[in-house]
């Protein structure tokens, strides 16, 4: 199968997830992504390199499970940019690249002598995409973030939780994933622009901008109607106000910490749910005939009571069986899946091939996140694990710059790579 992006070379300084996630997409579609790391610190600028989870008792920069997950199909070289020779080599790589990508703090690449103006001198149509929490412009641009901070700043944390309680936020770096997606879009958009016009450019990606844009409907309620999101009973994110639905929530099921999501999009779906509850052998299903519940407005007004009654009904059922029953009755429902249930026991993710096994040079065979899009002609391929520190230095310097094994050995002895 041909690859979609096999004609592209990415000179890649990204790390963690907000950056590495972007170039994972490009690599899976065949782009030659060359990770450039520091040999002196063993690439530990990317804090995920030595971090858990681990496949076995081995530890170190080549054994981080998260790092492997985010860097499959990439090549990895080391360059000690404190040396003049390494900076010369980097300049030669930039001349032969389509994109330079990074998610350092503001100004790091500039200090190394590779700001946009220099990159453009080396390669006039280069695409340079920088990505940091507050961007490279604006009063907070010198300040630091990580995923949960980005989510806090951009309103994403505030909106998520139960009424009358502190925000629950997101239990993972949603905005590292999402910032990485917007970084990938920015790279691809700049490449499309170059395809059309021949022009390169610098794109200033800021994860907090991307996060705030995702709260747009709430923002318009504020700018147009003057209604702020900071108000009584906010957050209330298991309910649905846009669109309005009731019942709509996460309800308990049989067992310890087992839950089901149920959403009625219409009066018709509510009637189907009510019929199912009324027909169940369990006693006390009469509440579904409460006249207040016939229309959406009534169900919304009495949502707390409705939730409590529905919870008392769902509590007796096994979550997957109940979800199947409700689906068969025409009601949108899904069990709240735990990792094992959605990864090892879901026939749909299995049929999709969502969890490919890669071969990592030291870790061996490891399963990773695949991609949620299949292409009919140029589908993604994820087979090779993340690079060990400097694993492809010789290969890349040979392939890209025509250096011999002896040349590279000499550079190694001189502390350049």
């Amino acid at each position: 199968m041909p690859t979609a992006l096999g004609h592209l070379r990415i000179c890649d300084f990204t790390g963690q997830l907000a950056g590495a996630g972007a170039t994972k997409w490009l690599a899976a579609f065949g782009a030659e992504v060359i990770r450039i790391e520091d040999p002196v610190t063993n690439g530990l600028w990317d804090i995920l390199r030595p971090m858990p989870p681990f496949v076995d008792e081995r530890r170190g920069p080549d054994f981080g499970g998260g790092f492997n997950n985010h860097n499959v199909e990439k090549l990895g070289i080391t360059l000690n940019l404190r040396t003049e020779r390494a900076r010369e080599i980097l300049a030669e790589i930039v001349k032969r690249s389509d994109v330079v990508s990074e998610n350092f703090a503001k100004g790091v690449l500039q200090r190394w002598g590779f700001g946009y103006e220099r990159l453009k001198q080396l390669k006039p149509d280069i695409i340079y995409v920088s990505n940091c929490g507050f961007g490279q412009v604006g009063p907070y641009s010198d300040w630091k973030t990580w995923g949960p901070i980005v989510q806090a700043i951009s309103g994403i944390t505030y909106l998520s939780g139960h009424p009358g309680m502190e925000p629950a936020g997101w239990g993972y770096s949603y905005m590292d994933h999402t910032g990485g997606m917007y970084m990938a879009m920015a790279i691809l958009l700049a490449l499309v622009h170059r395809q059309r016009t021949g022009e390169g450019q610098w794109v200033d990606m800021s994860c907090t901008d991307a996060g705030l844009a995702l709260t747009g409907t709430a923002l318009l309620d504020y700018t147009v109607n003057g209604r702020p999101s900071r108000r009584e009973n906010s957050p209330d994110s298991n309910h649905s106000a846009s669109p309005e639905m009731a019942p709509h929530g996460i309800y308990p099921c049989r067992g310890n910490d087992e839950w089901i999501g149920i959403a009625c999009c219409s009066d018709d779906e509510w009637r189907k749910l009510a019929a199912r509850i009324g027909a169940s052998e369990q006693a006390n299903g009469d509440w579904v005939h409460d006249a207040r519940y016939a229309g959406l407005a009534g169900r919304l007004a009495a949502q707390a009571a409705l939730d409590a009654q529905l919870a008392s009904w769902t509590r007796g059922s096994e979550k997957f069986a109940l979800a199947r029953e409700l689906q068969a009755a025409g009601v949108p429902a899904a069990a709240v899946a735990k990792p094992q249930e959605r990864i090892d026991q879901d026939e749909n993710t299995a049929a999709w091939g969502l969890w490919p096994t890669v071969t990592h040079t030291k870790m061996g065979k490891v399963r990773v996140d695949g991609l949620p899009a299949h292409f009919s002609k140029t589908d993604w391929r994820i087979e090779r694990g993340a690079p060990c520190v400097g694993e492809h230095t010789e290969l890349v310097l040979n392939r890209v710059l025509g250096m011999s094994a002896d040349d590279v050995a000499k550079l190694r002895a001189e502390g350049v790579v």
Binding site: V137, P167, G171
Partner: protein, 418 residues
């Protein structure tokens, strides 16, 4: 695509790309991202309009087909037409439109377009290099493809809901707000379409793309997935911080004004203890904090080995004093003062803003995030959220407000007969 000319730098990166979008909440955000980058996105609605026109909130809280703020936000920069695809003339018009387009974007139930003779296989007959992107809850094939789904059920089934919530597990886990389940599928849809456009540029070939929102949620839960894949660990939800296999200390704090901050990672490096101590002194709080001596000790060390916490008494005390100093300061200042004070001290913390607080913040204003969009029928402009990325060339721009029902039907159909 048009040939390059002098004005191309000012046109959006996707200028000259035509996208036919079949209205659905499941793909609307993808269409907006493309339209704001300059693509000519033609949104097709059934007679009577897409159901999302009935989604609140509404302008002035009065419902109406052209008053939904949900609609306004998701359909900027698009043109809108009405076609009845249950009739042959409607289907013929769609075929003709698709033949004039680069991309078809839709979220119809699996099999629905094939039944109308409007699926990729049909449309590609007259437009071989068409890029057709389908975004569905469970993908176009597979055992769950026919399940009914909403944003909530996709996030419940896909893993995010399990990760979010409170330390108290008698409370239901939490769906993150903002229809993010649909948004994540749309992000992958846009990445896919752009990837396919680049491939078409070098090969001349189009293709079909099957985006699966449930799969998208599944591979967007960070450690939630990879800790199971690698080490069979199950992450457990915790209040306002990362889910974890084992409980961790809290990192969300209430400040003196009742608002919350995320305190991030506690100080770990000597320089961080030094600046924390300086911040404590500048607030006049050192006298209230006897453990300040440990901050001083941390500042004076050459390095602090975190693996010794719990074993080495001094390192344990230093690390604990760092956390306690942050707690003390939070209890004495507002959330915003805590955020700016900590960041000036080099500590990565965040204030938990509501969306409008971020929107009115000087940083986002300075980045040009507030944009005005004119609504001619109201004789005024409204403020909208701005660009998710700052492109210097081929830039992001809201070129028009969302289309009113059927606003461009005549205009677009007239273009087709030319």
């Amino acid at each position: 695509m048009s040939a390059a000319n002098a004005t191309d730098s000012q046109q959006g990166a996707l200028h000259g790309i035509r996208v036919i979008e079949l209205a659905s909440e499941k793909c609307a955000w993808a269409g907006k991202l493309l339209a704001d980058m300059g693509a000519d996105v033609i949104l097709i609605e059934p007679p009577g309009g897409d159901i999302a026109r009935s989604y609140g909130p509404f302008l002035g809280d009065e419902p109406g087909a052209d008053r939904s703020l949900y609609w306004w936000h998701h359909h900027t920069s698009k043109r809108g037409i009405v076609l009845d695809l249950t009739t042959e003339p409607g289907r013929a018009a769609l075929r003709k439109l698709a033949a004039s387009a680069d991309v078809v974007l839709e979220a119809e139930a699996p099999g629905a377009l094939a039944a109308l003779g409007l699926d990729y296989a049909d449309l590609a007959k007259t437009k071989p290099d068409l890029i057709h992107c389908s975004i569905t809850p469970f993908g176009r094939s597979g055992p769950r493809q026919d399940e009914l789904a909403t944003d909530l059920t996709v996030l419940a089934a896909g893993g995010p809901v399990w990760m979010n919530g409170y330390d108290d597990h008698s409370l239901p886990p939490v769906r993150g707000l903002g229809n993010q389940g649909w948004a994540v599928g749309c992000h992958y849809g846009v990445m896919s379409i752009l990837t396919a456009i680049l491939y078409r540029g070098v090969s001349g070939e189009g293709q079909f793309i099957d985006v699966n929102s449930h799969a998208a949620a599944n591979v967007t839960t960070e450690a939630g997935s990879y800790c199971w894949l690698v080490a069979k660990q199950t992450m457990q939800r915790l209040t306002g911080r990362h889910a974890s296999a084992n409980p961790t200390l809290g990192s969300q704090m209430k400040c003196a004004d009742g608002r919350y901050v995320n305190t991030g990672v506690p100080p770990r490096k000597p320089a961080e203890f030094a600046s924390l101590l300086a911040w404590l002194r500048s607030l006049g709080l050192e006298a209230n904090f006897p453990e300040a001596v440990f901050l001083q000790a941390g500042a004076e060390r050459a390095s602090i080995d975190l693996s010794k916490i719990g074993q080495d008494d001094e390192i344990t005390a230093i690390f604990g004093a760092g956390r306690e100093a942050m707690n003390l300061i939070a209890s004495r200042v507002s959330a915003y003062e805590f955020f700016t004070g900590a960041q000036r001290a080099g500590l990565a913390v965040g204030v938990i803003f509501s969306p409008e607080e971020a929107y009115e913040d000087p940083h986002f204003k300075a980045r040009g995030f507030q944009v005005e969009v004119h609504h001619p029928e109201h004789g005024r402009s409204f403020r909208y959220p701005g660009a998710p990325y700052a492109m210097q060339k081929g830039a992001w721009r809201i070129s028009r407000r969302a289309p009113r029902l059927g606003e461009h039907t005549e205009e677009v159909l007239r273009e087709l007969t030319r």
